[in-house]
C-alpha cells in the first residue's frame, strides 16, 4: 500500500493545490487562444494553454533556458510537490528518492526542432546540447538532476493512460518495499505537432465545423475535446514512512486495474474491456462497487471515447451507476494526454478531502441510453471514502485506480 502525502500541480486553471482546487470548484475555464504557436490555417485556435507560466518564480533563472517546456512544467510541479508534502529528498536505503513520470508526446517540440535543424541547415549544424532533449525520458532525467533524485527514474508512455500507469508503478514499488518515497505523476506540453495532428483528425471540439467549440464531456451533443497541458507530481510513500515523519496523508492508493483490447475491436467490446479494468481495480482494493462515491472520468468530449466509457461505467456499476456522481475535469484543464490521469487523481483526492465533486463544465444532458443520471452539472457534495479515476485510451489501453480517504484525516479540517 502506498499513500499520497502531497502534490504539485501546474495547470491551465492555476498553480499549486489551492488555486487548482478553487478552479475546479468554481468551474474555471482553461480554454484560451493559443499563444505558443501560430494556428493560422488550422480549423481551431484555442487550447487549455498555461499562458502565464513563469517557471523562474519556482525554479530561479539559473539554467532555465536549457530546459524545454515539458521539463520546466515537470520541474515546477516537483518543487510544488515537495513544498506541499513538507518533504525534501535525502538518501534512503534504496539509493534515494525516485521519480516515475508519465508522458505521451514528451518533449516533442525539442525533438522536432533538432530534426528540422538537420533538415534545413544540415546535420553538422545542430547543437549537441539539443540532442539529450530528444529522448523521451529527458524531462524525468532533468528533474532528477535538479532535485538530486538518485532512486529509480522511470518514464512511462501509455497514451492518455501514461500517468495513471506511472502512479500505479510507483505504488507497486512502495508496496513491495523497494522504495520508501517516490515522486510520480505526469507531464504534457502543448505542442504544435500534436495540436495540428488533432486538428487534421477532426478530433477537437469545433474542428468539424460544429457550433459547439468547447469540450462538453459526456454531453449528448459533444463534438470533440480541447487540448490541455500541464504537470502534476505526487509525493508517494509507504504509510510507515509517512507516519514516521508526521506527514499529512491525502489519500491511499487502494487498487489498480489495467486491460487492453485492440482498438479495432468495436465500441461494445472496448466498453467491456474498460469495465473489466474498473472491476479489477475494485477487486484489488477489496471494495464493493456501491461504496465508490465518485468517478473522475477520462471522458474528454470525444464522441466515441465518451460513449465507450459511459457504457463501461453503466456495466461495471450496475444499479449503482444510475445515481453515481460522475464528472470530468477536461472541459476545465483540457485533455492533458500523458498528464491526464495525474490531473484526475489530484482532483479526486481533493474530492475526498473537501467532500465536493466538481461540476462537469459544459455538460448539459447525458445520452439517455447510458442510464447515468449522476453526471455532475454543478459541484455536488459527497461524503464517500472512495473515489475512482478512469483512463481509457483510444489506442486500447485502459486503466482504473481506486483512491481511499485516509481514516485519520476524517476529523481534520480541510485546507483552503
Amino acid at each position: 500500500m502506498a499513500v499520497i502525502s502531497g502534490f504539485g500541480v501546474v495547470s491551465p486553471i492555476g498553480l499549486g493545490r489551492d488555486e487548482f482546487w478553487r478552479g475546479l470548484k468554481n468551474g474555471a475555464a482553461g480554454l484560451r487562444p493559443v499563444s505558443l504557436f501560430d494556428t493560422e490555417g488550422l480549423p481551431c485556435h484555442e487550447a487549455c494553454e498555461i499562458s502565464s507560466f513563469a517557471p523562474e518564480t519556482l525554479l530561479g533563472r539559473k539554467g532555465l533556458k536549457y530546459l524545454d517546456r515539458s521539463t520546466q512544467l515537470a520541474s515546477c510541479a516537483t518543487a510544488l510537490a515537495f513544498e506541499d508534502a513538507r518533504f525534501t529528498p535525502a538518501a534512503n536505503g534504496h539509493g534515494g528518492v525516485g521519480l516515475v513520470l508519465g508522458t505521451m508526446f514528451g518533449s516533442v517540440e525539442s525533438v522536432s526542432a533538432f530534426d528540422r535543424q538537420i533538415l534545413q541547415e544540415g546535420p553538422r549544424s545542430v547543437n549537441p546540447m539539443g540532442f539529450p532533449r530528444t529522448v523521451i525520458n529527458s524531462p524525468a532525467g532533468h528533474v532528477a538532476i535538479r532535485f538530486g533524485l538518485t532512486g529509480l527514474n522511470t518514464t512511462i508512455s501509455a497514451g492518455t493512460v501514461s500517468s495513471l500507469q506511472a502512479i500505479a508503478y510507483a505504488a507497486d514499488f512502495i508496496a513491495d518495499g523497494r522504495a520508501d518515497v517516490l515522486l510520480a505523476g505526469g507531464v504534457e506540453e502543448l505542442s504544435a505537432m500534436s495540436y495540428s495532428g488533432f486538428c487534421a483528425a477532426r478530433l477537437l471540439a469545433g474542428s468539424d465545423g460544429n457550433s459547439l467549440r468547447c469540450a462538453a464531456p459526456l454531453d449528448v451533443d459533444r463534438s470533440g475535446f480541447s487540448v490541455g497541458e500541464g504537470a502534476v507530481v505526487f509525493v508517494m510513500e509507504s504509510p510507515e514512512h509517512a507516519a514516521r515523519r508526521g506527514a499529512s496523508v491525502l489519500a491511499e492508493i487502494s487498487g489498480f486495474g489495467t486491460t487492453f483490447l485492440a482498438p479495432s475491436s468495436g465500441a461494445g467490446r472496448q466498453s467491456a474491456a474498460a469495465a473489466h479494468a474498473m472491476r479489477a481495480a475494485l477487486a484489488e482494493a477489496s471494495v464493493d462497487r456501491a461504496s465508490v462515491g465518485s468517478i473522475c472520468a477520462g471522458a474528454n468530449g470525444s464522441r466515441i471515447g465518451d460513449d465507450i466509457e459511459a457504457q463501461a461505467i453503466a456495466s461495471a456499476f450496475g444499479e449503482a451507476a444510475a445515481t453515481l456522481p460522475v464528472h470530468s475535469i477536461k472541459s476545465m484543464v483540457g485533455e492533458t494526454l500523458g498528464a491526464a490521469g495525474a490531473f484526475q487523481v489530484a482532483a479526486s483526492l481533493l474530492t475526498l478531502r473537501e467532500n465536493v465533486v466538481p461540476a462537469t463544465v459544459n455538460f448539459l444532458e447525458a445520452d439517455p441510453r447510458w442510464g447515468l443520471a449522476g453526471i455532475t452539472r454543478q459541484a455536488t457534495s459527497t461524503a464517500a471514502e472512495l473515489a475512482m479515476v478512469n483512463s481509457f485510451g483510444p489506442d486500447g489501453i485502459n486503466a482504473s485506480l481506486v483512491l481511499r480517504r485516509p481514516a485519520e484525516s476524517s476529523g481534520e479540517s480541510p485546507r483552503s
Binding site: 553538422r124 532525467g141 538532476i145 508512455s157 495540428s196 495532428g197
Partner: protein, 409 residues
C-alpha cells in the same frame, strides 16, 4: 494491493531482430562466431554527416514476418517489435490468440526514440508545408506507446500494456515491469523487450556529441573511439514456472530480479563513480537475494565510448570488489552496435542464451588493453563457460540505469 506468490518467473521464448541475425539461432551463431553487423549507412544518404557507418538490420523484410496490412501500415520501430514478438511467441510454443479463459497476456516494451522515422516524416512535411501539412495518421502513430499497442494488437493481448521509454536502458526496464506484473498476478504471460529504428536524429546527435566511432566499435579497448548507432528489437516471453511446466514449454532462465538507479548528475555524461549503475546493481542483488559472488557472466552496457567503458568498469569494481577480475564481461555492441532501446532487451536474450548454451559471446575488435579497463572482457573469441547466473547492465541518457539478473532454473 494483492499479495503476490513467490513463484519463479521464467523466460520461455526469445525473438530477436538484429543486424547479425533475425531469430535466435541465426543471431546466436553470429554472436559466437564474432560476426560484425556494422557497415555503411543505407537508410539515408550520410554524405552530409560526420559519420558513415551504422548497424542496420538490412536483411529485414517486414512482409516475411508480419501480416500484409501490418507490414504496409506500421512504421519501422513497430515492424521490428512485432516481428520480434512473433518470433518470441513461436519460440515459446505459444500459439497466437490462444485466448484460453485464464490466459492474460500483457506487453511491456522499451524504446529510446520511439517511432523517430515517423517524426522525421512529419518534420519534412512541416518544413515544406507548415502545420496544415501535418498528417493526422502520422501524429497518431508517433507517440512511442504505439510500438507496444501494435505488438499487443498483433498478439491479441488483454492484460497490462505499457511502454517504458527510458532510452538505452529501456529493455531492462520493460523486462522488469513484466516480471513485476507476473509476480503481482496482473498477467499470466508477458511479452517484454525493446525496439528502435535507425534514425537520422540519432546519427546526427551522437556524431555532434563526438560519441561515434568512425570505423568500428571497440568496447573496452584502449583505442576505442565511440559507439555505432544501430537498430533492432528483442522480445522475451515471460511466465510463471508452473504455467511453463504445465504446457511443456522450454525454459531458458529464471528472472531473479532487477534494480534501477539514477545518476541525477548529467543528461549524457556518466556520474564519475557510476553512482546510478552501482545503485541499480545493488538493488538488483537485493531483490534477487544473491550477490556478486554468484554471477558467472556480466553483459556490459559497453557502448565503446571512452567514458562509458571506463566508468562502467569502475562501477563493476565497486560492486564486485576483487570478484570483478574473475567475472567474464563482454559487450555485444562490438558486433551489433548500439540498438538504443532494444539494446538491453537483446542483451537480456544473450544472457538467457549464455546460460542455456554454456558459451559466452566475445567482445570483438579488442586489440589493446586499457589500463583503466582491466577486467576480463572475453576478447575476440567466444568462450565455453558454464553460466548459472548472468547480470545484464544498461545505462541511458537521463542517468537511467537498469540491471537485470537471470539464472539457471
Amino acid at each position: 494491493m494483492s499479495p503476490h506468490p513467490a513463484e519463479p518467473i521464467v523466460v520461455t521464448g526469445i525473438g530477436v531482430v538484429t543486424p547479425i541475425g533475425i531469430g535466435k539461432t541465426a543471431f546466436w551463431d553470429s554472436l559466437v562466431a564474432g560476426r560484425s553487423g556494422i557497415g555503411p549507412i543505407r537508410s539515408f544518404d550520410s554524405a552530409q554527416y560526420d559519420v558513415h557507418i551504422g548497424a542496420e538490420v538490412t536483411a529485414f523484410d517486414p512482409s516475411h514476418y508480419l501480416p500484409a496490412d501490418a507490414a504496409r501500415h506500421l512504421s519501422r520501430s513497430s515492424q521490428l517489435a512485432v516481428a520480434a514478438a512473433r518470433l518470441a511467441m513461436i519460440d515459446a510454443g505459444l500459439p497466437r490468440a490462444t485466448a484460453s479463459d485464464d490466459q492474460v497476456l500483457g506487453v511491456a516494451m522499451g524504446t529510446t526514440m520511439g517511432e523517430a522515422q515517423v517524426l522525421e516524416t512529419i518534420d519534412e512535411d512541416v518544413v515544406s508545408g507548415g502545420l496544415t501539412a501535418v498528417s493526422a495518421d502520422l501524429v497518431t502513430r508517433y507517440p512511442c506507446h504505439s510500438i507496444a499497442t501494435h505488438v499487443a494488437t498483433d498478439v491479441e493481448a488483454t492484460g497490462p500494456v505499457i511502454m517504458l521509454p527510458t532510452a538505452c536502458a529501456a529493455g531492462n526496464y520493460a523486462i522488469g515491469y513484466a516480471f513485476d506484473a507476473l509476480r503481482r498476478g496482473r498477467a499470466t504471460v508477458m511479452l517484454a523487450g525493446g525496439a528502435d529504428a535507425f534514425s537520422r536524429i540519432s546519427v546526427a546527435g551522437f556524431a555532434r556529441l563526438s560519441a561515434t566511432a568512425p570505423e568500428m566499435c571497440q568496447p573496452f579497448d584502449r583505442g576505442r573511439k565511440g559507439m555505432v548507432v544501430g537498430e533492432g528489437a528483442a522480445v522475451l516471453v515471460l511466465e510463471p514456472l508452473s504455467r511453463a511446466r504445465a504446457r511443456g514449454a522450454p525454459v531458458y532462465v529464471e528472472v531473479l530480479g532487477y534494480g534501477l538507479g539514477c545518476d541525477a548528475f548529467h543528461m549524457t555524461g556518466s556520474h564519475p563513480e557510476g553512482l546510478g549503475t552501482v545503485t541499480a546493481m545493488q538493488n538488483a542483488f537485493r531483490q534477487a537475494g544473491i550477490g556478486p559472488d554468484d554471477v558467472d557472466y556480466l553483459s556490459a552496457h559497453g557502448t565503446g565510448t571512452p567514458t562509458n567503458d571506463r566508468i562502467e568498469t569502475v562501477a563493476i569494481k565497486q560492486v564486485f570488489g576483487e570478484r570483478a577480475y574473475q567475472v567474464p564481461v563482454s559487450s555485444i555492441k562490438s558486433m551489433i552496435g548500439h540498438a538504443m532501446g532494444a539494446a538491453s532487451a537483446i542483451e537480456a536474450a544473450v544472457c538467457a542464451l549464455t546460460v542455456s548454451h554454456g558459451v559466452i559471446p566475445p567482445t570483438i575488435n579488442y586489440l589493446e588493453p586499457d589500463p583503466e579497463c582491466d577486467l576480463d572482457y572475453v576478447p575476440n573469441t567466444a568462450r565455453d563457460c558454464r553460466v548459472n547466473v548472468a547480470l545484464n547492465n544498461s545505462s541511458a541518457f537521463g542517468g537511467n540505469n537498469a540491471v537485470l539478473l537471470v539464472g539457471r532454473v
